[in-house]
Amino acid sequence: MLTKEQIAKRIAQELQDGYYVNLGIGIPTLVANYVPAGMSVTLQSENGLLGMGPFPTEQTIDADLINAGKQTVTTLPGSSFFDSATSFAMIRSGRVDLTVLGAMEVNDKGDIANWKIPGKMVKGMGGAMDLVASAQNIIVAMQHTNRAGQSKLLSELSLPVTGLGCVKKVVTNLCVMNITPQGFELVELAQGVSVQDVKDATQGRLRVSDNLTEIATS
């Protein structure tokens, strides 16, 4: 099984030189730590920063410089600040090349739920609905099952939907799956995880790729 860091590291393999990338809160944020050496990737933070740098030191911390997860961050040479309307103009007009999000549920049609549990948890969608409605390339990073051990990869969502037919790929602690017209396609397995393990943990339609490989975690 993959750790959170290993999930992030696997997603980082999807990055390409010159990409503008928006990383959600949680595991997606960790992807920034694994940008391949020599590759230039620009991080967009939807609260109004393009070119997000690493965390500051205690000496350089600035309350007026945070990311979308409300964490203190820094700028880099070439960074820019802008207002929220401009930020979502970038997102809706398709200029962000890759979006990595967490999810509560994904179904085999690529629909995603990640903003609300009726009657229990109401945090809001933040920028997630704008991102999933517009991004061409959306990868979900999440655990394969919830805390109760139930599958988060379903045939139908049980929670309110965030966006329809938008997820292209899911990377979990067990595997990598593409979303295809035939449902989930298992393409890579984590070390020590069997096809049967994935089948047991996946409630939606699942097909095993003819070219199934193991996720490189070294």
Binding site: N47, A63, K70, Q71, K123, M125, L164
Partner: protein, 231 residues
């Protein structure tokens, strides 16, 4: 016309019960701390607050929630406030959750004289309930309306007595659009200067949008997630 107010209490003195307010900020970054404190002192109630977040339990808009001064919140993300969640789940507080980009664009439209626009965000979700849906070039969109807001309250880094504003870092966020969108706009600033001190090339919000301005004091600028690294 003199736009200068002595302090926050004077700036918010025209705000009365049941008004709709826009409040700038993302999380606790770039929030109008002085005006929120003044509203909390004023005991004005029944407010509808349009703001991306609802503060935390004991800071930002959380202070107004604690005092039960807020009737309705219009926000995109409210996850950091337990009192908010309690009031919402118990039905004491009315809440409209809308996508962040839609919130920003609705503010922008309000200030730009645009009554409505189409966005793909929220299509197929409960956000689209009751809204006009329309297809453009093979993609589905929902119609979103501009807001009606009595006051907009923003926080800027620097301002001059003409009302021109400059924001700092990610404290800019919703402030420029909201500054354009209030029937009356109040700006609180960390530095208030004479006309001519700010470079016209670097003004983010032209003074025409700002009705009242004052020099804020004692900024706490609380940090929600203090993340650092050793070099």
């Amino acid at each position: 016309m003199n736009k200068i107010c002595k302090n926050a209490d004077q700036a918010v003195s025209g705000i009365t019960n049941d008004m709709t307010l826009m409040l700038g900020g993302f999380g606790l970054c770039g929030i109008p701390e002085n005006c929120i404190a003044a509203l909390a002192r004023s005991k004005v109630s029944g407010l509808t607050c349009i703001s991306n977040n609802a503060g935390v339990d004991d800071f930002g808009i959380g202070l107004l929630l604690q005092n039960r001064q807020v009737k309705k919140m219009i926000s995109s993300y409210v996850g950091e406030n337990a009192e908010f969640e309690r009031q919402l789940l118990s039905g004491e507080l009315e809440v409209e959750l809308i996508p962040q980009g839609t919130l920003a664009e609705r503010c922008r439209a309000t200030g730009a004289g645009i009554p409505a626009f189409y966005t793909p965000a929220g299509y197929g979700t409960e956000v689209a309930d009751g809204k006009e849906v329309r297809e453009f070039d093979g993609k589905m969109y929902i119609m979103e309306r501009a807001f009606q807001s009595n006051y907009a309250i923003v926080k800027a880094w620097k301002g001059d007595t003409e009302g021109n504003l400059v924001f700092k870092g990610t404290a800019r966020n919703f402030n420029p659009m909201m500054a354009m969108a209030g029937k009356i706009t109040i700006a609180e600033v960390e530095e208030l200067v004479a006309p001519g001190v700010l470079d016209p090339n670097e003004i983010h919000t032209p003074g025409i949008f700002v009705n009242k301005i004052f020099l804020g004091i004692d900024y706490e600028k609380r940090i929600e997630q203090r993340t650092t690294q050793e070099l």
